[in-house]
Structures are given as structure tokens and as C-alpha cells.
């Protein structure tokens, strides 16, 4: 079994400079839905983690969470509370009990609307936790291009280290690859030093072949991460979509040598579900893609469930939500 390669946690994800638009790469795309579904259905029956390993995997998942609030009723107070949770995602008693107290553990990032960026940046000062801002007319991505570019620039200026852009799904549905490429390329330029995550809105793209092609174009245009969903589409992160995107990341690496991160988002709210995504990453891309510089999970309520599972592991008793600090 060729696993067990130690991964240097501090290894930082190299930026993706992008490539020219290679339409022939898109022509090579073949995705068989039934084959994808069989693979995802058996991934979770072929692999499981138990006991200490399960607890460790839960902790790893926590380190990859982009702890997110994207609501119309977000306020500074709410965002500060979220940031506090991102800094200390698991209660010290539990960490102590399971033998993890000597280690740093925080979420991968805090993800908010532009308006909340300054509050989050201030709340996370000195923690090393980046602030991510959703941008470019999130979630539909249909505001004027100039507005979308300005939005990126404003968020970067406000201190966001990561920008989650949304692609124009219409370009994919009409196969206007050049337009898609040009837009994402422009977003990437606007991001400057900030890492760019490209949200594909896979629920809107409908077919897995569309997902695969959109993934490739986003990477060619310079996305550092590709991300499934805004959380606002009818269908969010699913394992079949994740499998196809992971395989496109592999494809891009084979062609360019560049490693692209992956972020499933939306609907991932239980430990069981997130373990499935972790297994998928490990199996399809390897252990490198279990680390927060190449794997993020867009989630809000997930953290609570992971903490409950860890509490159960620590105490042997099933946990109650009200005994855990709110996010």
C-alpha cells in the first residue's frame, strides 16, 4: 500500500499562472455518468476510518474548513463570533482528552461577503487564518464585468487573502469557452496576490461533462482552486461532481505540473459526508489533497457535527449540541 507518505503541513500551495486556452484539451474530455456513480458509490464502501484514525481525520477536516457565513442578516457581531470559532474550533477539554492539545488547530479560512471582510481581518489578526471573500456578483455572477472586477479589487484592498469568484454559467451552457476563459483570466489578474477560487456552480451546469470542461477552462485561466458551488444552487457539492473535478485537477497536473486545490461547498454538514470527500481526495489525488493548502471545505454547520463526534470519541458518550460553543 503506497500511502503513508508524510506530508509537510507548512508546504504552501504554489500559485497557478494558468496557460493559454487549449480547446483540444476540452475535446479529450470523456465522462461516463454511470461509471462515475459506480466509483463514488463504492468509494465509501471500500474505505472507512475507525477510532483514532477517524478522530484524526475529523481534526484534519476541521483544519480544511472555510468557515462560512453568507447571509443577508450577517452583522459584525455574528462574524466576530464565527472568527472566534475558527480560531478555536474544538474545545480544549476535548483536545486534551484525545491527546491533541499540544498542536495548533484552526479552520482553513473564514469566508464572508465583502462587507464583512474588515471585521473578519481584524478578528483574525495574528492567527494566520486567511479571510476569503466571495466576489464577482456572487452567487449568480451576472453583474457588469467592470463591477465584478472592482469588487475583487475592493476585497483584496480590504485584506482578503482569498477570493472566491463565480463563473458565468451561461458561457458553459453555450460552450463559449473563450468568453469564459477571458473573464476568469481577468478575475485572476484583479486578484493580484490573493489566491483565487473559481466557483463553477455545478448544480447549474447539469452534466458532468460540462463540469469537467468548465474545470479545465477555469484552471487554464489561472484558478488556484476550483470549487463546486455557491451553496445557493439547487444541487451543491456531490461526490460525482467532486470526482470529476478531482480527475480534471489530475489531468491539469499531468499536462502542466501545476497542483490545483479543490473546494467542495454546500450541503456538507455531517462528519460522515465530509469523510467521504476526504476519502475521495486521498484515493483520486493522494494525501497532498487532504491538506488545507490544496483542500478546503465550504461549510458552516459541519464544524458542530465534527466536534460532536470528537466529543464522543473523547468521552465514549454521545454528545449534545447545546454543550458545544456556538459558531
Amino acid at each position: 500500500m503506497a500511502e503513508a507518505t508524510l506530508v509537510n503541513l507548512d508546504r504552501k500551495h504554489k500559485r497557478n499562472p494558468g496557460t493559454a486556452l487549449h480547446l483540444d484539451w476540452l475535446d479529450d474530455v470523456r465522462v461516463n455518468l454511470s461509471a462515475v456513480e459506480r466509483r463514488t458509490a463504492t468509494l465509501l464502501t471500500r474505505r472507512t476510518v475507525k477510532k483514532e484514525w477517524q478522530a484524526a481525520w475529523h481534526l484534519k477536516a476541521i483544519s480544511c474548513i472555510d468557515l462560512t457565513t453568507l447571509s443577508g442578516d450577517d452583522t459584525a457581531g455574528r462574524v466576530r463570533r464565527l472568527c472566534a470559532k475558527a480560531r478555536n474550533p474544538v474545545s480544549p477539554e476535548i483536545l486534551e482528552a484525545i491527546g491533541f492539545s499540544g498542536r495548533t488547530l484552526h479552520c482553513g479560512a473564514v469566508c464572508v461577503y465583502h462587507e464583512m471582510v474588515p471585521v473578519a481581518v481584524e478578528a483574525l489578526t495574528g492567527t494566520g487564518i486567511p479571510v476569503a471573500a466571495v466576489s464577482t456578483g456572487f452567487p449568480a455572477g451576472l453583474s457588469p464585468l467592470a463591477t465584478r472586477l472592482a469588487e475583487i479589487e475592493a476585497s483584496v484592498a480590504a485584506g482578503a487573502a482569498e477570493i472566491d469568484i463565480v463563473i458565468n454559467r451561461g458561457h458553459v451552457l453555450t460552450r463559449n469557452w473563450q468568453a469564459l476563459y477571458d473573464e476568469v483570466r481577468a478575475f485572476r489578474a484583479a486578484c493580484g496576490p490573493a489566491h483565487m477560487k473559481a466557483i463553477l456552480g455545478t448544480g447549474d451546469l447539469q452534466t458532468l461533462r460540462n463540469v469537467a470542461r468548465a474545470s479545465l477552462v477555469a484552471m487554464m485561466a489561472g484558478a488556484d482552486f476550483i470549487k463546486t458551488s455557491t451553496g445557493k444552487e439547487g444541487v451543491n457539492a456531490t461526490l460525482p461532481v467532486a470526482l470529476v473535478m478531482a480527475r480534471m485537477i489530475r489531468d491539469y497536473r499531468e499536462r502542466t505540473g501545476i497542483e490545483i486545490g479543490f473546494k467542495p461547498a454546500g450541503g456538507i454538514s455531517t462528519a460522515k459526508v465530509v469523510t467521504g470527500f476526504q476519502i475521495l481526495m486521498k484515493e483520486e489525488l493522494g494525501n497532498r489533497w487532504l491538506q488545507p493548502d490544496l483542500f478546503r471545505i465550504g461549510a458552516s454547520s459541519l464544524l458542530g457535527d465534527l466536534e460532536r463526534q470528537l466529543s464522543h470519541f473523547a468521552t465514549g458518550r454521545y454528545a449534545a449540541a447545546h454543550r458545544q460553543p456556538l459558531a
Partner: protein, 794 residues
Amino acid sequence: MNIQEAFDRMDYGPAPESDGPAREWIARHGPKLRHFIDGGWQAPKSRKWFESVNPADGKTLCEIADGGQKDVDAAVAAARAAQGAWAKLSGHRRARHLYALARMVQRHSRLLAVLESIDNGKPIRETRDIDVPLVARHFYHHAGWAQLAASEFPGHGPLGVVGQIIPWNFPLLMLAWKVAPALAAGNTVVLKPAEFTSLTALAFAEFAHAAGLPAGVLNVVTGGGETGEAIVRHGDVDKIAFTGSTEIGRRIRALTAGSGKHLTLELGGKSPFIVFDDADLDGAVEGIVDAIWFNQGQVCCAGSRLLVQEGIAERLIARLRARMDTLRVGAPLDKSIDIGAIVAPVQLARIRKLVEIGRAEGAEMYQPEGAAPREGCFYPPTLFTNVHPASTIAREEIFGPVLVTMTFRTPDEAVALANNTAYGLAASVWSENVNLTLDVAPKLKCGVVWINSTNQFDAAAGFGGYRESGYGREGGREGMYEYLAPVWAHKLPPVAAPAIAPATGEASVSAVETIDRTAKLYVGGKQARPDSGYSRRVFAPDGRPVGEVGEGNRKDIRNAVEVARKAGGWSSATAHNRAQVLYYMAENLDARTNEFARRIMAQTGASLARARREVTAATTRLFTYAAWADKYDGAVHSAPVRDVTLAMNEPLGVIGIACPDEAPLLGFLSLAAPAIAMGNRVVAIPSPSAPLAATDFYQVLDTSDLPGGVLNIVTGDRNGLATVLAEHDDVEAVWYFGDAEGSAAVERASTGNLKRTWVNNGRARDWYNPEQAEGHEFLRQATQVKNIWVPYGE
């Protein structure tokens, strides 16, 4: 392991399934496990035992009874005693029993899964998620057939007592495939599990009895090859159903020849896995994993020959190697294991030997580093490239986790390579082009084709092979027919010996009044002189010579088979086209009714009225099969996945037919017409006592647009020629309707290529009675079912 380390390493860690309850079950019944006969545990009368070993650690699990003749006698007697009452139950009552068995399997699902895993070495993931659920599904499906038996199989009844011998690779699933249809049809069973894997069969029998199955309906006798042979030879067994190696299948065919026992064989394979350059390569890689690294590759239908289109071979192999690196080999009870233990050291030795031969012959081997545990019966996933069709490892069934790879350039070459094997069980075809896949699937000589998928099974879709992969189907309607017989079949009288024994000689019977028209043989659409240069005289019942026909010999059979093989266009002709030709034959025969009637009179002594009746019946029969030609449709099965499973009725190819003496024209056409109607090509041996009706038919054929080579007629010694046909490796089936000795000879001679045989065991049908002489039974014999699984979805 501390959590910080686990956090840094991100391994899976162990995830063992407990074997406690399974070991308790063994302890409760052991340490020596007896036969389960007549509703209870019975110690072996042989007083012999053998050890059952867990291949994952080499430790003995328990001792198992080694059945001898007396144990088999007791089991067969119990089955016989129970059979009458079991068959008399209404379909609904039997359905309730089968339903109870399905529920029983689900109630004991984890125990059965764990028992299977420790006994066989296969991963718990597979027994839990694949074997046991398929077992339950099989009993549910067949509960339905029991319920519907009276309406769906009218005029049919059970065969009686069935002997079933199953292999070690899917012990419980093969039990289900055998037992469910047998019981649904009203048979009772004597089942012998494989020596390596007896535990789940014994547990099943015990649980089935507890679930209300009457005593004697299912009997399990454990033991090795000798026990199996005692069942095969047993005089009171009506059918043998066997799954296992082609070598043992041959032996069983030879042992049962002439016994009148019904026989179905599900044997080995070297199935192709074809990847075209427009396939989803990542999907195909996972398909390969499921094809050859499922159950350690110990699967009769394993996709063990990877055929890749040349342009993508390098990319596919690179991805495959990378995927092999992530396969986990080890403790079968670990829930995160892909490849468990090889069933026994003897099998491991066989795998190692064949791998060594592969390397010695120059093939290039890849195995992931450190993939398999050093202790225990394990073997790593193995890939061979630089393999050629002539390589030993490309031809022999390895029955282990070893894949061989070859490349092809075009679809035609893919088909040619795929079919370049003695076997014909299954194939996988990968391409995103539905036109290509549906073009290739019918060209593959095998019983199952999986498009963009592999190793899919369902009780509703029949499973079984072409060629030396055996005959008979398991599952679905076609599988039920293997356990049923028409009720009249038990009551047929013996064939009557012809009044005059035909003699051979050079003397001719030329008529002075008419020009001599001694018939030659009919080969390739024209008359051909017999190779021997001899003729045989045909006599009337009063001893008067009435004509002469050619004395066909081995070489004439060879020539006839050769042209029949070449007439493949007939098999791909449209059904409408075949119907037209059959109608035309009927039309031309009808116009010559009196002439044919007089011939029949002269040869058989029948009255003119009776002889005319035979010709009219023959004309009608041609109409019947012209009618059937475009109506014997396949089916679309409802498998429990998003897919259409197309069950296509395909012709067998070349069929040899030895025709009956009773009704010489009608019997000949009752057999030749369905064979031709379904697209087969035929080499017929007419009745030796009255061959002139068939030889006169040459002229009907000449005028009916039947392509040359589709129907060939060789006159001569029926039993001798039929044996030559039965021995011929390029003949797919032989039908024999002469005497009992000839039936036995044909079955015995069929072992070479394990062709399908259909013999009358010396019993005479009433060729005028449509119930016995035409219809579905004939059409089923003239076809084989190919199930093509076509998953879809965008």
C-alpha cells in the same frame, strides 16, 4: 497509534469486522461439521473428515464431513422422497418458501458475509455488499417465478432430483443461482459445495430448514471430487448443474453421456475487456479494477484480457499502474481491503506458475511495491504488457489477480482478438460512442456483454456462456427452463427399429424406365459426390430396393461444416429475409406434394393418404418457422440499475442434425427449419432408412433462394456421421434423434469443444403433434441468449 501521528500520516488504519458470531456458529456445530440431509445434521457414513482452512492465516476453522457413496445415496433418497410433495405444492406455496429464504438471508446477512469471508478469503466488503445482497435478490426473483410457474410455463413440470456442484469462488451466490430456480420449478436438490468452502452452504441449509423449508428439499453433502462424482453418477438423479472448471465440466459431460440426465455447465473464461480510444479512461480504469481485482481475480467472467486501442494504450496503462498502487491487499475482514486472500495454497501456486511462464515468455510485469502481506495466501495485483495472442498467459485462465494487455488498431481487430479464445463467457466494451458499442456487442462470442461497465449481475438477466464456457443459463426466464421439462417428455415411447436394416453396396438399382437420378450429397448449395465413392441402397419395408444415396464419410462432414461456417451471411441476414426463403421453400414443396408423397410411400410403406399427410404437415411446419423467423424476439430486462439490459436471441452458428426415422420428411424439416429460421447453418444427416425424402429436397432448396451452405445434407451411417459432427471443434451444437446408443455417442463425443447437444435418448416424438414437434423448445434449442448491459445517463 496516537492521534497526532494519525493526523500527520492520514492513513486509513485498521477497520476489522468481528468474526466472533461466525466462529460461535462454527463452534456450536463443530468442531466437526456434518452433512445436512433430510432436514438434519448427519454424520458421514464414510466416517471421513477433512479440514477447512482460513486462507488468510492458514489456520484450521473446523473439520468437514467427507461424503462417500452412502452419504450421497442418503441425500438422493431424501430428495427423492421429498420431491413429490414439493412439486405438488401450489406455485404460491413454493413462492412463500422462496420468499422466506430471501428474508432468511437478509436476517442472517452479516453472519453469512463473515462466514464466507473467513472460509474463502474474499474481502468482507464484497461478501457484505455484493455476494449476500445478490443471494437475497436471487431468492426474491425466483419466489416470483414459483408464483408464476403455472401461468408462465404451462405444460411444464420439474425434472425431479437435481444434483448441483458448485465452486469455491462465490460459494453462497452459486448456491443461490443453483438452488433458487431448482426449488422454484418444483425440483429437490442435492448440493455439494466446493471442498474449500462448505461453511455458508451448511449454514444456509440449517437456516432454510429453520425457515420452514421441508426436510429433504435441500440436502447438502460436503466433500471433494469423489463426492461430486458419486452425485454425477447416481442413477436416481435427473439433472446435473455444475459450475467450475472446463476440465471438470468435460469429465461430467463424459460421465453423464447416455444417462438421460439433463446437464448445464457454467465453466471457465478468458474474457476480453475492450477499451476504445473514445472511452472515459478513468471510468475504464475503475472498470478494470472491478473486472480483474474483484474477488482476487478468481471469477469465471473476470475481464482478464485487456484489449486497448493502440493510440491510448500508453496513457491507459500509466493510469492503471497508478491506480494499482492504491489497491489495498490484506486481511479480508478489514473493511478497507480491496484484495483479500487467494482461496488456497494450491491456487496460489498455480497463479505463481503461470506468472512465471508469462515472464519467461517475455511479457513485462508490473506489481505495486510491497502490495501483498508476506504471510498468508496473498498475491499482489499484477499487470502484464508486451503480451501476444500466442502467449500462454493470454490463452490460459489464470483465475487470479493477473491482467494481460494487448493492443488493437480497429474495431474489427478488437473483435477478432476478443473472439480468439476457446471460451465465451463475458466481455466488457468501453466507448462513449453508443453506435460503436452496439455494433461490437453482437459480434462478440459470449453470453454477457457489459457496455461501459463490468461484472454486473442480476437475477432477472440470464448468465451463461458460449463455446467452452459451457451451456445453460442461470437467472431469468431462460434459467427457469433449465429446471423444467414438458410433462409429456417423460412419457415418450422408444423409437421403433426400422423394418429393414439398410445395407450398403456398389450394386445400383437403376430403373430402366426412368433416367437414373441417384442422389449425391448436398454441400454448399450443390450436389457433391461422396468422398468414399460408394453408395448405399435404400429399401422399402418389403426389402425391395427403391433407390440409392451417397455414402457420406468424415471428409464429407468436414467439407459440409466448412461451407456452413463460411455461410455466415445467413446469420446476419434480416429475419424478414429468412422468413421469405422459408415461405418459398414451403411453396415449392407444396407444388410437389404428390411426388414427395410417393417417395415416402415407397420408402416407408405408408398409405398414400398418410404420406400426403406427412408432406402437408412438412409444408405447414415450414410456414410455422417462416412465421417465427421474425417473431422470436429477445427481451429488455429490468435490472436494478439505470440501464437497459438487452437479452438477444442469437443463432448458435453451425448445427449438426441427425434426423429421425419416424416421419422422414417431416422430422427432417421439423428440425432443420427452426435452426435455419433462427439464422443457423445446418449439416443434416437424413434418416438412414428413408433418406430419399431429404435428397429429393435438394431441388426444392435449389429453387428457393436459400444461400449455398446454409443447409447441407450428408447421407450415410447416421450414428457414425453424427459422432464425427459431435467431435468437430467447429460445430456449435448437435441435435440427435436416432437411437439410444447414438444419443450416448453424441453426448460423449461432444466434450472436445463442449458443444451443446440435444438428443432424444432413443425416444420417439410425435412429429405430427405440434405440442411435441414445434415451437418454443425448438427455438430455444436453436438460439443462445446474449445479455447486453447498456447503462445510460448524461
